[in-house]
């Protein structure tokens, strides 16, 4: 593929426009859609520094303590001189102890202690309890995962704000019914961005056009399936990311799917169709074995930053599941294979994280029925967009049929889509393509696992 597309230049142009609107725009808000691995954190750090440099007193709102701590560490690494306040709760383990080592960071549970600092960072939950004179500017991170009511609780604290988030990931939710407000522009259970844009449609909306994480094999597919209205591209071209093994395939299913994934970026390890419990022992075992074989075979990766092949370590591998009990089952299967140091978590907890190789237990594997939970496109999007090199999906056969047989009798709430930003459009079930999941499955004798890569790949 030859193209005049220069990802670095495209990303720079987008960033410049965002910073211009943020620093010099007339509107009170700027919204930035950031697909997976498009440099959202880099943008937030840069915007924070420029706002601080411009003398704007800044508050930063993130959604979890881990996100807050991560931002503080990044800011301190980038600009050790910048005075940053980390507002935390009074719980025992409210923040990452590593923050104590940073001389530029002040830690406190009392907003008054941090009032004079140029930048203060905390979670939305903590900010909601703060009573103070408004800050001149705010950066709201992970704004699509923030609920509208959480924004309501903190919006009085700032004059203007930059909202940054990934529209393709998991929607916020409520454990109690909120249907009575569906369709209202300020539905408290909807995402903060949908409320913001419903009331302020004139706000400038930007998007980061390049995913630096997803390889050339993944970006087009993820973009098409989960971001139909805000397409993005990979920052790397075909062949720039390489995954290879020191040991040749032993011909087993896991080895063949790893080879397939190394070549195509995707691999599907398909087990024979069967209705199974959620913690399908065979599928869980297969997931663990794939991980084990990747390590045993001395996997090495090379990329645009370090062309010299480097060993793929356990810390660069993640396993993603839909349910916690599945994650627990995979963890114990890995432990029994003597593997440690690999991240195993649910889609929820993998949001915002990045690995070289991911192994995903398909949320619909072995299920007799799909539910809204398993069909949530945000969940699939998270699982399919964590990797820099390759993603292996483990699933029982029959998912395409399951989707076709899924009843479609959803209630429709009047006006419910009116408030949504145009960029937030999940692909329609059952038409979403899971990598390889919707292809016609050739009939096959024998019950062993089957390996498939991307059907569209070129040899």
């Amino acid at each position: 593929m030859t193209t005049a597309f220069d990802p670095g230049a495209a990303a720079d142009r987008a960033t410049a426009a965002i910073l211009h609107d943020t620093l010099h725009g007339r509107e009170r808000g700027v919204v930035v859609d950031s697909p997976p691995g498009a440099g959202k954190s880099t943008l937030v750090v840069r915007a924070a520094r420029e706002l601080a440099a411009a003398g704007r007193r800044l508050m930063v709102v993130a959604q979890t303590n881990a996100q807050v701590d991560d931002l503080v560490l990044r800011l301190a690494a980038k600009d050790p001189e910048l005075k940053v306040g980390r507002l935390h709760s009074s719980d025992a383990d409210a923040y990452d102890p590593a923050l104590r080592e940073l001389p530029s960071v002040t830690l406190s549970a009392r907003p008054a202690d941090l009032a004079e600092l140029p930048v203060t960072i905390s979670t939305a939950a903590k900010w909601a309890y703060v009573k103070a004179e408004p800050w001149e500017h705010a950066i709201v991170d992970e704004a699509y995962q923030m609920r509208s009511d959480a924004l309501l609780a903190v919006a009085g604290l700032f004059e203007r704000a930059l909202f940054v988030g990934d529209p393709g990931q998991l929607d916020p939710f409520s454990v109690v019914g909120a249907e009575q407000w569906a369709g209202l522009s300020y539905d408290p259970s909807a995402s903060a961005v949908s409320t913001l844009l419903a009331h302020n449609p004139q706000l400038p909306q930007h998007r980061l056009p390049v995913s630096w994480r997803l390889p050339a094999t993944a970006a087009p597919l993820v973009s098409r399936a989960f971001y139909p209205y805000s397409q993005f591209r990979s920052g790397t071209g075909p062949g720039e990311r390489r995954l290879a093994y020191g040991v040749a395939s032993d011909g087993s299913g896991p080895d063949r799917v790893l080879d397939e994934a190394a070549e195509a970026g995707w691999g599907l390890l398909e087990l024979p169709a069967r209705h199974t419990p959620r913690t399908d022992p065979e599928a869980v075992g297969a997931v663990a074995l794939v991980v084990r074989r990747a390590l045993d075979r001395g996997a090495v990766t090379s990329d645009e930053q370090s062309p010299v092949p480097a060993p793929l370590t356990p810390s660069r591998i993640a396993v993603g599941t839909a349910h916690r009990d599945q994650a627990a089952a995979v963890r114990s299967a890995l432990a029994s294979l003597g593997v440690s140091g690999v991240t195993v978590d649910t889609a929820n907890r993998l949001q915002g994280r990045e690995y070289d190789l991911t192994v995903v237990l398909h949320p619909l594997s072995g299920r007799p029925d799909a539910t809204a939970f398993h069909l949530e496109t945000g969940r699939l999007c998270v699982l399919a967009s964590r990797h820099r090199h390759a993603c292996v999906v483990v699933a029982r056969a029959g998912i395409a049929e399951l989707l076709d047989d899924h009843p479609s009798t959803e209630p429709v709430r009047l006006g419910a889509t009116a408030g949504r930003p145009t960029t937030r459009s999940s692909p329609t079930w059952p038409n979403t393509a899971w990598p390889g999941g919707r292809r016609a499955i050739p009939s096959r004798a024998g019950g062993g696992p089957r390996i498939r890569g991307r059907a569209t790949r070129r040899r």
Binding site: D93, D149, A155, V176, W181, Y186, P188, S189, H199
Partner: protein
């Protein structure tokens, strides 16, 4: 559905009758619940057909509209409904006790205790089904914006007095019923299916007759058989043996019986006779008899549901939740008395967020309280790894460091349960000690699977723990990973300070327009 409830359903299939889902009653049932069985006319919003109501099952008050499309008759019905219900609701308004309420000082933001009045009891209305609750909401919406002749002398169609007031109360009750664990407006089907599992699906449990059949079938019949008869049985005229619990009626009833009777009533009136003439009265009585025949069964079934619930001992913490209902009742009483306008058509941004926050808090509270009150509910939490029961196998006294060492005993606990605790330790667990929450730190998991916990509080101020405050060797204790009470969320801005992200204060350019009563509100 949690697996434990699924298991109960499977058992019910095998047994042919319902199996318990609770060992105590998880909803408050007052001394004098009022049962309300409303019926509506098909195809028309808020056109009641009749109602049966009262606190005495043997003396129901019965209202029937012989021609539901007649606006005057509808007014009469709603006026009568208000005349019957408002005294009942208001009878709870004046018996009060002094209480304390936490308020936030607008100046300092500090929370302070304020003396307040709290109604000692509140009305409780039981309708047959969830659709009945929605109907109460609908009636509330149709009535609360009406103006009486007193309020608006120019109004060509003044509402009977108290109708707008009942509309506001119905609206309040229906909104309150969305708060988890609240008991001011309850559906009999919800009450029953919370406490018993049948051998049919959730959807089929919405049918009061068949749900009751599974729980208490007549002698000699299985619940499964009786439920089928209640659901589908028809007489030789094609009429259901067990009419639907409403508010919608059976189409076969509408078409074969009701429509001809209403037509006769129309004809009698059209023939020019006086309203109280014999022909009209006879026709009216015929409609009334038919409508009553559809409500009567449901009336008794709703009372039977209440009786069944009363056979269960009340959960210890249901009263605490009822106190919240009493606060809610008192609060609405105060708003009405202060002359505040009726609830708006749609919540503003702040009110919506506030309601959602309250419901989320109450859901957490309800989940915790039901588990603490009921070993069967706790079993479900234990199964989910959110609680564990075990035997204390060892107690080792330890003290905190510092000038005044405090007791921090270490317990070793053997359990068959599989709580979701991190292997490396950390995190807190809790037990209920005389109704108060006692905290423990999870220290580690031993090689043999036993858990080591450290007691953190409720041991008194001295160096030695107060007697009974530390579990002893051999004690069997249940710990939870969840806290026993729910914390409310942060204070939201006042509606007049709604931020720009949410449309600004109501009445500003981008905010939704204020309500006005329009022509369409008149039937």
């Amino acid at each position: 559905m949690p697996l434990l409830s699924t298991l109960a359903r499977l058992e019910a299939v095998r047994a042919g009758h319902a199996r318990p889902l609770a060992t105590v009653r998880h909803r408050h049932l007052g001394a004098e619940p009022l049962v309300l069985v409303p019926l509506t006319t098909a195809g028309e919003a808020g056109a009641p057909l009749g109602a049966m109501l009262g606190t005495d099952r043997h003396e129901p008050r019965i209202l029937v509209i012989p021609q539901p499309r007649d606006r005057d008759l509808r007014w009469e019905f709603l006026g009568e409904l208000a005349r019957l219900l408002m005294p009942h609701i208001e009878s709870y308004a004046d018996a009060v006790e002094p209480a304390e309420r936490t308020e936030t000082d607008p100046e300092t933001g500090r929370k302070t205790k304020v003396e307040a009045e709290l109604c000692v009891d509140a009305p409780q209305i039981v309708v047959p089904s969830r659709a009945g609750i929605e109907y109460v909401r609908l009636l509330g919406r149709s009535m609360r914006f009406r103006r009486t002749a007193e309020e608006d002398p120019e109004n060509p169609y003044p509402a009977p007095s108290q109708v707008p007031l009942l509309g506001r109360w119905f609206t309040h009750l229906a909104e309150r019923s969305r708060v988890p664990g609240s008991s001011m407006l309850l559906a009999a089907t919800d009450l029953l299916s919370r406490h018993w599992a049948t051998g049919q699906s959730n959807l089929e449990d919405q049918h009061l007759g068949s749900l009751l059949a599974w729980i208490s079938p007549p002698e000699g019949v299985t619940g499964a058989e009786w439920a089928l008869r209640m659901e589908l049985g028809r007489d030789q005229d094609g009429q259901l043996l067990c009419p639907p619990a409403g508010p919608a009626t059976d189409p076969a009833f509408d078409n074969r019986l009701l429509a001809p009777a209403i037509a006769k009533f129309d004809a009698a009136r059209a023939s020019g006779g006086p309203r109280d003439g014999d022909a009209v009265r006879l026709a009216e009585r015929a409609v009334r008899k038919l409508v009553v025949s559809q409500m009567e069964n449901t009336w008794w079934q709703t009372w039977e549901a209440i009786d069944l619930l009363r056979t269960l001992p009340p959960g210890e913490r249901t009263e605490e939740r009822w106190t919240r209902d009493r606060w809610s009742f008192t609060g609405h009483r105060d708003r009405v008395r202060a002359g505040e306008p009726p609830q708006p058509r749609r919540d503003d941004a702040v009110t919506a967020a506030q309601k959602l926050a309250t419901r989320e808090t109450e859901q957490v509270r309800l989940d915790a309280q039901e588990a603490l009150d009921d070993p069967l509910v706790m079993a479900g939490r234990r199964f989910a790894g959110e609680a564990f029961a075990g035997e204390v196998t060892e107690v080792a006294m330890e003290w905190s460091e510092g000038k005044r060492p405090r007791p921090r005993p270490l317990l070793t606990v053997a359990t068959e349960d599989r709580p979701q605790l991190a292997d490396e330790g950390g995190g807190k667990v809790f037990r209920s000690l005389d109704g108060r929450q006692q905290a423990f730190e999870f220290v580690r998991r031993e090689e043999d699977g036993q858990l080591v916990l450290r007691v953190l509080d409720k041991m008194g101020a001295g160096r030695e723990p107060v007697a009974g405050s530390v579990p002893e060797k051999g004690d069997r204790v249940c710990w939870t990973l969840f806290e026993h009470d729910a914390r409310g969320g942060p204070k939201l801005p006042d509606p007049e300070n709604t931020p720009w992200t949410h449309g600004g204060p109501p009445g500003s350019a981008t905010a939704p327009a204020l309500d006005a009563v329009t022509d369409e509100d008149l039937l």
